[in-house]
Chain length 377, copies 2
Amino acid sequence: MADPSTSPPLTRASVAEARELIRPFVHRTPVLTSSSLSALASTPTPTQGEGKARPKLRLWFKCENLQKVGAFKARGAFHAIERLKKEPGWLAGGGAERGVVTHSSGNHAQALALAARANGIPAYIVMPTISAPPKIAATKGYGATVVFSGSTSVEREAVTAKVVEETGARLVPPYDHPDIVLGQGTLGLEFQEQVEAMMAEDVGGEKKKKKKGLDAIIAPCGGGGMLSGVALSCEGTGICVFGAEPSFQGADDAKRGYESGVRVESVSSLTVADGLRTPVGRVPWSVIYERRLVAGFYSVADADVVRAMRLAYERLKVVVEPSAAVPLAVALYDEDFRAMVEREAGEEGWDVGIVFSGGNVSLEALGKLFAAEEESK
Amino acid sequence: MADPSTSPPLTRASVAEARELIRPFVHRTPVLTSSSLSALASTPTPTQGEGKARPKLRLWFKCENLQKVGAFKARGAFHAIERLKKEPGWLAGGGAERGVVTHSSGNHAQALALAARANGIPAYIVMPTISAPPKIAATKGYGATVVFSGSTSVEREAVTAKVVEETGARLVPPYDHPDIVLGQGTLGLEFQEQVEAMMAEDVGGEKKKKKKGLDAIIAPCGGGGMLSGVALSCEGTGICVFGAEPSFQGADDAKRGYESGVRVESVSSLTVADGLRTPVGRVPWSVIYERRLVAGFYSVADADVVRAMRLAYERLKVVVEPSAAVPLAVALYDEDFRAMVEREAGEEGWDVGIVFSGGNVSLEALGKLFAAEEESK
């Protein structure tokens, strides 16, 4: 990772610069809409019962599940490499030959492997020996060298440090770095432009009042790299940005930290949203909380996450991993969020952007989640 | 359906007019690419073995599975209604009050129900009593009146005729009418424009030679309404259009008809690609065969269709129904197609558009198909 002192300032303009840097390498993922999901979001569900909020919600879905490697993480990884290439002395000093390293068993591992390969740079990925074989195979498939470690964070960091020592590879952390935050934030800029263009085109048919763009965006929050990047992309636009988390076993660390004013530094949760089991990092926290660029957090039960995944599958025909379904679950099922929208938006309602962060879930895992859901009914 | 004598001529210009008519009502569905699927398509698979074709294929996917009602059928249905409204005397004579009728248990039923509702017109859908309950519920969900019949075509047509007699509703057939053909063809025009725009943007990264658009499109062929419409949309562009069919139990009727010069008028196949169990209609045939606007047909085994569905799920993160996976199966697994591309395109290769026609498959059905695939390995 480039020395943070060489990173651009954390501003919307820097996100725009990041976007130019990574534009040739990542997909401009589509934005989808579904009148049936917007109608559903604007109707209290039976389980919510009488006297519940009746917000008017028009939903827009940014499909980063259709991004390269199946997740937004490609943006941050490509940006990290582009910034490293610009760090004074890195290329000249043989940095590209020494490579990059990270410890991750998830989407960041594959994203870094892809970005490194595209640049002809070696990538070392430290993964727990107990990682699922398809994830190991996928990471190797992108040309990375997989180095195994124990599964505690102490063990993984020790192995990572050893790789750095032996190879001189540069560490690229998954979220706690300005270059990662700026890279992930590029999806927010695209989202804003795409919705504006789609609203401008939408002149016939439903004959709804012309609007100028999104009122709010809900993004999932794990380490907070993407949420803080999206928040930067919205600074000064008037768009409210909200974080979405699972509530299971205290995985709503960002919400608790935001409300108490103290960042929660460790999380131990087996929420189904396995990409969101991490505490928020320091750099994201500075944007999310200290600069108050995130307007609030909402959290949902795992069962609601699975219900939202099913709707993404059935109504939108796209595959989302559990973590990616958390914002839709908030819009559909979280009474606090829904009451807030009803209060703030009134009759006119809100156009709400939902970030589908990734789609890496096997059909077998999806089938099991839905079968368990059916049984619990 | 409007009297065919009032339909525009079957030309590319008429497809463009159709597009303007339906633009406010349908999604401009995204076009996706996947470097891993293009690489896979450019590599002979192990089962193809030694000495097999090595075409260079760059694949582009038109995602009509993300269209309203989950299938391209929305285009034809909205166009049919718009054309009816323009038929002299239909509106003035109370046609809109009498409504429209069709017999279908598939995507056309839901598409017509949606298009009718959007216009405040009653829709009667004749469905076999044995239809799957979710399909009946979905059709009713779009506000249509479902009328049950026996499951043979004679029984369905008798009930349909009775509905016409009693209500004065106009029959809107699923594919054998110029207005349907022109409506479905609109996806082809969009596809061409989208790929051209994406190629123009793709200036960095892979630094490949600038191209001006698609070389070919492969579309599934059931009744042939969509294939013939896409063929019209490509007339005069130099883009080759191919039809893709399942080969199981003679479902490759269009291929057999095209090669023998005589349209096959009946099909009885239980291919997994349940949307393609129909023979080609007369109007589509006039475009496909008599005007030779389709360059050829390729057919694949059901097992290859399921393999292609899995790749759509795993690599592209989108849900496709079996019929929609047939063109991808042709590109990946059909030796005749692959040898032809190698011969025609040589070193430069081809940019091939793949039409994902629909996404209406339940997770349960998908799980069963993939489980059966695993067992047969």
